[in-house]
Symmetry: C2
Subunit: 366 residues, 2 copies
């Protein structure tokens, strides 16, 4: 029987009760809204957690890269959306191989990309569903106008090898309701139905519902993280994932240093305003800055006379960005807390490890 | 025969001529200064490149984590410095196991850490050399005064299992000369010699020399990166490492989007001032922002009428921070450029892959 407190550090640990609670809560919210749930696996990159999401009611999953889709197809997932422009011969060959064994849906935002996918699928004798990505303000991909969507939908509808499915956006924003209606009306004249509309973003499911989405993609909700807490989408005690670290130095006045930095937590800032991690055991101190292997805790908000953690003490840090952090860890430990949880959100000291998960979709950059 | 241009993307690629040139140039500089070379392997995390550094004249290597040291000890390196406070039972057991087979030197900055290492080494019947880390302004670790160093040196000199070696700092700063002399004079009264002084930082070797260092640690010089170019420590054509990516979208006016983001390049900002990557083929455009799998190129500095890269075009991006980027890639391709190199710094189109290196010290967070 292994306890979390006995793990070497840094180690990524997941509270299984909280993970299960997060999965159930989002599914209930989407069920109530009448939206299909297609969780994004980028947050955990672990098939076992994906199976928990499907068992709770998800209709399929979302992967951002083909390499992730390959790992999850191998692990028994049958319905995979890749909301990403897949470009280049090696990727199209991998896509058609995947499409032979699972239902593949892919997003595109331009005629060159759509044509290449259609040709590859036609030659391979498979069919892939294409969604048209719409830019909702990230300015990284997506068509800019309903007319552009119409033109691309016509091209897709006319191409063998692919099937026009509908629209995709990230994150869902309120103007998408009008955009969707405009595209639907334009396509109705051509007799092209707009069946699927995939929206996304943890906490944005009500926006997706209002915009007329048929399904919703969210990823970070499974673990939650400091950025979602700051955005009001999660409570601290709904943050299922943290990283166990050890204090290795108290030499610098006003600071304590831990054995994890940007190689353990990433430098993903998101909306964190200079705070890079929340310390469960010491809510008044925070991860201020990082180099690769050092994390520096600022002690200035400690009550006068209170002392920070001593050298050798292990503490749990909730990172800013769960997904980026996951991508840095080869192994994740799932535990269940026994005994009463302290009101201050710290640990019971009796966290028993139930499972050690490898992270097979980590590092799938292609 | 495989060409770089035919690789799937994103792929990390290394120009072997430039890598060899960087390794030779630093060694020559340290030889001229009379400083021993102890390169930091965190930049490449590849034993084959470490062996190139030793063949050029390095006396040993630097690893930031025990997991890196274990990989490099397995690969035949005999003299390893870990300039890091090693804290906790599992790490001390690993340290003593390493010390049985290679010469291990470790840095400490406090009495608790030094005592625990000494006791573990004494019990295990091995000897480890300890250096005292001095804080030169990073405020993440290191003693604050010569008197603190003296007290810790006395403790180490009196402990079985460990040997007092001297001082360590990162990065070397000019005041370290005075600090070192003060410590040397204090210790002389106790009859404790100050033998070794390990300084560090790419581009800081002359500062190390002036401060009285005996050896110098630098890591990023092997690859170089955009942050070193901005700091004046490398030319663009001395940047040996880049990431081959593909343009996947040109839908958003003024921008082009590539298939690599923070999961390919990190969000490590360093001194980059809003620029996160340099595009070899288009020096006027730059990587402005990233999400995990998207990188957004800003085209605003392109000459009027000039067009940016089209969808499907492959380009090479030199990242801000080589070390963080390395930690995200499982494989690195080493190539040699054939044919004349264009004056604009772009590629010849005839880059032939000579070696495919796994990155075995990637992800060694413990």
């Amino acid at each position: 029987m292994q306890r979390v407190a006995d793990l070497d550090t840094p180690s990524m640990v997941v509270d299984l009760d909280r993970l299960e609670g997060n999965i159930a809560r989002l599914q209930a919210s989407l069920d109530e809204l009448g939206l299909a749930n297609r969780p994004h696996i980028k947050t955990h990159k672990i098939p076992a957690i994906g199976h928990m999401q499907v068992a709770a009611g998800a209709i399929g999953i979302t992967c951002q890269k083909l390499g992730e889709a390959e790992v999850f197809a191998d692990a028994g997932f049958h319905d995979i959306l890749v909301p990403y422009n897949l470009v280049g011969g090696p990727k199209l060959e991998r896509l058609t191989r995947l499409a032979r064994r699972v239902k593949m849906t892919v997003a595109v935002d331009g005629p060159v990309t759509a044509r290449a996918i259609a040709e590859a699928c036609d030659v391979a004798g498979v069919e892939v569903t294409l969604l048209i990505e719409v830019d909702t303000g990230m300015h990284r991909a997506g068509v800019q106008s309903p007319e552009e969507a119409q033109s691309l939908a016509r091209q897709i509808a006319d191409s063998p090898g692919v099937r026009f499915g509908g629209l995709m956006c990230y994150p869902t924003k309120p103007p998408m309701g009008e955009f969707r209606e405009a595209v639907r009306d334009l396509l109705a004249r051509d007799g092209i139905p707009l069946e699927q509309f995939s929206g996304g973003g943890t906490g944005a499911q009500a926006v997706s519902k209002a915009a007329g989405c048929t399904e919703h993609r969210s990823g970070t909700y499974a673990y939650n993280d400091l950025s979602l807490w700051r955005a009001g989408h999660a409570e601290i005690d709904q943050c299922a994932m943290s990283v166990l670290v050890t204090v290795i130095s108290t030499s610098c006045p006003g600071y304590s240093t831990i054995d994890g930095g940007s190689k353990t937590f990433t430098n993903d800032a998101l909306q964190a305003g200079g705070v890079n991690g929340y310390v469960r055991e010491y809510p008044d101190i925070f991860l201020e800055k990082m180099s690769e292997e050092h994390g520096v805790l600022n002690l200035s908000r400690l009550a006068s006379g209170a002392s920070g953690p001593r050298v050798g003490e292990k503490i749990h840090v909730i990172p800013n960005h769960a997904c980026g952090t996951t991508n840095l860890h080869d192994v994740v430990y799932g535990y269940r807390a026994h005994g009463a949880r302290p009101a201050d959100g710290s640990l019971t000291g009796d966290e028993i490890i139930e499972v050690e998960w490898p992270v097979p979709a980590r590092g799938k950059i292609r």
